[in-house]
Amino acid sequence: MKILAVDSSGLTASAAIVDDGVLVAEYTVSHKKTHSQTLMPMIAEICRMAELDPGSLDALAVAGGPGSFTGLRIGAATVKGLAEAWGKPVVSVPTVDALAMNLYGCTDLVVPLMDARRNEAYTGIYTFEEGELKVIEEQCALPLPSILEKINRIGRTAYFLGDGVPVFREQIGQLAKVPFYFAPAGSGRQRASWVGVLAMKFIQNGKAVDAAELGLQYLRMSQAERERTEGKKK
């Protein structure tokens, strides 16, 4: 199965071509947030270097949220455009799940942290069992103390990664009651290859859709906002 994957959910812009067990090409840059200018040329470059025949793609995949609203839309609109022209289906992959894949194989807790501003993080709790990603706490937007409370309750060693680490490092030090570590540079950021890898599972489970149907998951900041919107819709 061959997939072209894109992740522009955070500060990092990344594009990859994944062909079954092989990462054919990946281009990842974490430098300023000018995805709007750099993403498409990056995709063009890996297609050129991999001599990609678009007809051979099974699908396109994109990190569908949460993340920077603008970044998510750039990625999604780009993938929608490619899929439209190439006539391929698309898959939306949860951003935080893909981030967790950076620590593939870790049997302790893997906790990605993306800075969601206003003292909240886009986060989730994962681990790996029998070689597979296991979701313990689904991706969500939470204030840091809340996610730490959950981690403390589980009581296992936690590995933190993501652009939220510098933001929340100190608080983690104060509130964590379990041993914890921070993933080193190289393991901490979004990579489109993981979006591609997870996408393969989604596709096998029949979750690929027509580009027009591709949805994004912005995730609400708080319950209160969620309720206010529900109330407004009535």
Partner: protein, 342 residues
């Protein structure tokens, strides 16, 4: 002899409230024109203020483009170029259109041309009047813009005047709200004014000292609000239709006066009107009459081409393409893009 191939361009517009796409032939002939809000269940006149969420743009872009291609009987590979608005406007919505268009361009191998939103409005006149060519003067009036422009050549613009405060369309919306007419203000005032007396209340026709071509509508807006307040304080009822007509007359007078002054001072032979407010019947009538009086040719697009649409973008892209302009895959959304800027 080689047969001249038709130039088909797909125009995509997502600068603010609208998701729109269209296919235009040779810069002048509409083959399809799809505008998202007009296929909404809440119609434009449903009384609901449209959301500006580009969430909608991302949800609709594929369908709108697909529809535009299907209705025109064209495939992507049959296009000469894809035109897309890259400014001015809101960064979120702009990016949806720009990102999508770049991807379409790369994947299909079709050229990409970035278009300025206001240049699009001006270009709507090329569609309406197949014989219209620069040079001409153009008044672009909408909710967000009021510009008096000297179109010297395709792609060559000189701004003669602009608003110093409120845009004309915005003044319509705010006054409509204040007199209880609701949204959308322009069309509602247009209708209400027909039953009103434009001389019932005298509202100021503001001049801007520094530049006779510049506009100022916030004083007019305040005058209307003050009038309504004073009626309220005196316990008097005001006549909605009269206020609407009097306000409209004040706006139309100023727009017409500035335009005709510009025509006289530049010796222009042709005058065009563009933008959402160009749908206003009183404005169209006033300018048409004034131009006729001077023996100047008057152009204005049909209402559906006055509000935001993809056809105007496709038309503008055509003329850009003729000049050899082409955008790369690094085309960015520029919320502040100035007219004539590249």
């Amino acid at each position: 002899m080689e047969e001249r191939k038709d130039t088909l361009i797909l125009g995509i517009e997502t600068s603010c409230d609208e998701t729109a796409a269209a296919v235009v032939k040779n810069g002048r002939e509409i083959l399809s024109n799809v505008i998202s809000s007009q296929i909404d269940t809440h119609t434009l006149y449903g009384g609901v203020v449209p959301e500006i969420a580009s969430r909608k743009h991302i949800e609709r872009i594929n369908q709108v483009v697909r529809e535009a291609l299907a209705q025109s009987g064209t495939e992507l590979c049959g296009l000469s170029a894809i035109g897309v608005t890259y400014g001015p406007g809101l960064v979120g919505p702009l990016l949806v259109g720009v990102s999508f268009a770049k991807a379409l361009s790369f994947a299909s191998g079709v050229k990409l041309v970035g278009v300025h939103h206001i240049e699009g409005h001006i270009a709507a006149n090329y569609i309406e009047d197949p014989n219209l060519e620069p040079p001409f003067l153009c008044l672009v009036v909408s909710g967000g813009h009021t510009h008096l422009v000297n179109v010297r050549d395709y792609g060559e613009y000189e701004i003669l005047g602009r608003t110093m405060d409120d845009a004309a369309g915005e003044a319509f919306d705010k006054v409509a709200r204040a007199i209880g007419l609701g949204y959308p203000g322009g069309p509602k005032i247009d209708v209400a004014a027909k039953a009103g007396n434009p001389e019932a209340v005298h509202f100021p026709r503001a001049k801007v000292a520094e530049n006779a071509y510049d506009f100022s509508f916030s004083g007019l807006k305040s005058a209307v609000l003050n009038y309504l307040n004073s009626c309220q304080m005196k316990g008097e009822e005001y006549n909605q239709a009269d206020v609407a007509a009097s306000f409209q007359a004040a706006v139309v007078d100023v727009l017409t006066e500035h335009s005709i002054r510009a025509v006289r001072e530049t010796g222009a032979k042709t005058f065009a009107l563009a933008g959402g407010v160009a749908s206003n019947s009183a404005l169209r009538e006033s300018l048409e009459k004034a131009c006729a009086g001077l023996g100047v040719r008057f152009c204005v697009p049909q209402p559906v081409l006055c509000t935001d649409n993809g056809a105007m973008i496709a038309a503008a892209a055509y003329f850009e393409l003729q000049k050899g302009a082409e955008s790369g895959l690094d085309l960015n959304a520029i919320p502040n893009l100035k007219l004539g800027e590249r």
